[in-house]
Structure formats: C-alpha cells, structure tokens
Symmetry: C2
Subunit: 227 residues, 2 copies
C-alpha cells in the first residue's frame, strides 16, 4: 500500500496543475465557470435548459457536456442556440482537467460570460477532480432518497450549491427534504440550497437570480483587476 | 499512453483472478450469487427488502452491502432477519473481487442459498469489475429517464437482468418504458426485463418467480456435480 499512495497523489497533483491552467484561461476571458455534478438522471441537462431559457438575454452561456458516450445532451443544449460541446470520456466515470483543456478550442470563450461543465452522471468520482471551475454545484433529485448525504458525503462537502430537484414528485416518493437539508448542512454548513422542479419550473427563479449575481460579481472583480 | 495500457490490464486481470477465487468458494457452497448494480437511489435496497419478504421461507438469502461509507443499508437489511454485511469502500466507486473476498469470513455461506452483492450506487464503474457472481442484475428507475442506455451502455451489456423500477411514477415523469426496452435490448438482446415498483409491489411476483427458478437451477446443477 505504501507504494500506491504516491501514485494516487501524482494523478491528483497532475490534474490540479491542468485545472489551474484552465482556471487562468477562464479568468483571462472573464468567465464564471460551474462544474455541475449529480447521479444519472437527476436533471443536470434539464436544469441547464431551464437556466438558459431564463438567462439567455442577459448572460452569454456555454456548455461542455461530459458523457461516457453519445452526443444526446449536447444536441439538447445546442437546440437552445447556445455554444455547446460534447466531450466523450470513452469509459471514464468523471471529467478531469485535461479533458476540459482539450475541449476549450471548440468554444469561443471571449463570447461567453458563464461556462457550465456538465460532468458525467455519477455521485462519486467527479467530486475528486477539479477542472478549473469557480464552483461546484450538485443536484440531488428527491426520488433518489434523503439518505444520499450519508452515503456520498464528498460531493456534498465539495459543492457550493445543492439543487434539490424534482420536488413535484414529493407526494409520490419516500423522501423528506428537511432530512436532506439537515444531513447536507451537517457535511457542509456553507451549502447554498435551492428546492426546484425543472418539470414545473417551481423554485427556479431563486436559483437563476442567485446565479446571475455570481456571474455579475465575477465581472465586477474582473473589471477591478484590470484597472 | 502505451505505458499505461498494460497497467490497466494488470488491474483487471488481478481482479479477475480474485473474482475466480470467490466463484470457486461460492460454487463449493452451492450458492447462487447476484451482483446488483444501479445509479444512486434507483432502489437496490428496496428491491432486496421486497425480495427477502417474498422468499425468506423458501430461500436462505444473504446480502453484502457496498457503500463508500455508512452502514445504513446493511442495517435496513439486517432488520429483515437475514445475514447482512456492510462493506465500506472508503472512497472507491465500485466493489471488486478483493473487497468481496475480504468480507466472506463475516458470512456463514453454508447457511445460504442466494447471496446478493449490492454494489456502490454508480451506473459506470461497477460494470467493469467482476466479483465472482453468477450474474449481474441492474436497476434503472424511471425518474432517471429513458436515455440512460445510450449514455451508460456497458452496464446494460454486462447485465443478465434489467429491473425497471418505480413504474408507479410513470404518470409524473418524462420517461417511456418502451424506449428503455428498445434501447436496452439493442445493447443486449438477451436481457431479461422486469417492470416493477418496489413501492406498490407491482410486477415483483414475476421477478421473484424468475429468481427462484435460477436459484433452484443452481441447486440442481450442484447436486448433479456431486453425484
């Protein structure tokens, strides 16, 4: 085991260097970048569709879609008329700094205010790898159950935002949002939590307004740095 | 890259040797073993609870619960009065042959007919690692959406059984079971498919009867081998 630890550290350190390269590129372009994570089918792409619909006239949004294979999600996003790139990991269960670096040429970063990296659907490994983001955001959908913070703590610890999605299904599933909140805040007291339904639109206004503020704050910071 | 490929192969080959060791132990004990996989919150533990309730008087069932941390699921299963072991991976996103090998001492295998290994909730990596099972079974819950076979093909290809769970939610989600079936069978024409609801109990009888037959076939094979 003593032989293996340095190897793992090397992988994470090498990733961190590439993530930092990306971060510099994003800063230079004045971009706010979100690494969006969740288990499969929790609603990452639906959230992006809703967010684009709400903000397209105020914020220039681009999306990098990460999937093991298929270009299904990037096609959904491209239909919204924003810049979208599909990244296929070919088996890997998470995105990393190098994958994001290799996809940046496909985007016109100067023409964007907000870049969202939609990670591979997986509640485990994506949380271990930075890609150069300003913040990680995660979605937990209520059909997944309120025990998830107990079982997948790292993602809750690493995220700035928790979106509790599919609240329209609450009458039909055994899940208590109060329990999710309590368990998530125990892992990460600074977590910003939004209860939403991408299907009905409920709760999305609060999320969209908060996000708009983050992007605007980044712009102000960037302008400040230039003077 | 040429340097890395043999390393990956070594890991999978080393795992395969340990999985085969486990397989011999399971065969000697006359056990039928299922590796149960799904994304987070698709209903693996609920399916086990339902299956134990239905079969406890006919089949002696044991469960190995795999989670990154917590013993929540093993406690749920132990309440049903069957042998249950919790295995914590401490970060790893899947179970492997060695983890299962190390947990076998905690079970009385001779007192079991069926052992279910509940893998870590993850639609990606668990499908890459055999643990010595007779078959892999997967659950996809309808709130996850009918696009999942396109995006996570390996698990559908590796599984003998697909359980489509939470069909009671079909009126409230955008998911077409016919589309799941079609896409899954395109990846794996031999897939046995059951539509179930662990909440209402719908469809579980067909699954339970099929499972009972598999366990009984293994017993007959085992008795044949002994004579």
């Amino acid at each position: 085991m003593t032989l293996k630890v340095p190897v793992v550290r090397d992988i994470l350190e090498a990733n961190e260097r590439l993530a930092n390269d990306n971060r510099r590129v994003f800063r230079d372009a004045g971009l706010f970048v979100i690494n969006l994570m969740s288990g499969p089918g929790a609603g990452k792409t639906s959230l992006l569709e809703r967010t684009i619909d709400a903000l397209r006239h105020e914020i220039r949004i681009g999306v990098i879609e990460g999937d093991i294979q298929s270009s299904y999600d990037a096609e959904r996003i491209a239909k919204k008329g924003v810049q979208a790139v599909q990244l296929n990991t070919g088996g890997a269960c998470h995105l990393d700094g190098n994958m994001i670096k290799s996809s940046l040429d496909a985007l016109d970063l100067e023409a964007l205010d907000l870049l969202v990296v939609e990670n591979v659907g997986n509640l485990v490994c994506p949380a271990e790898f930075n890609v150069g983001e300003d913040m990680k955001a995660m979605i937990l959908s209520v059909p997944e159950g309120d025990d998830k913070p107990l079982k997948y703590p790292l993602m809750f610890q690493q995220s700035r935002v928790l979106l509790i999605n599919k609240i329209d299904l609450l009458p039909y599933v055994d899940c208590d949002v109060g329990t999710i909140r309590e368990r998530a805040l125990q892992l990460n007291a600074n977590l910003e939590i939004f209860e939403i339904s991408c299907r009905t639109g409920e709760g999305l206004e609060a999320w969209v307004n908060w996000l708009k503020q983050q992007v605007s704050d980044r712009k102000t910071e960037g302008d400040g740095a230039k003077t």
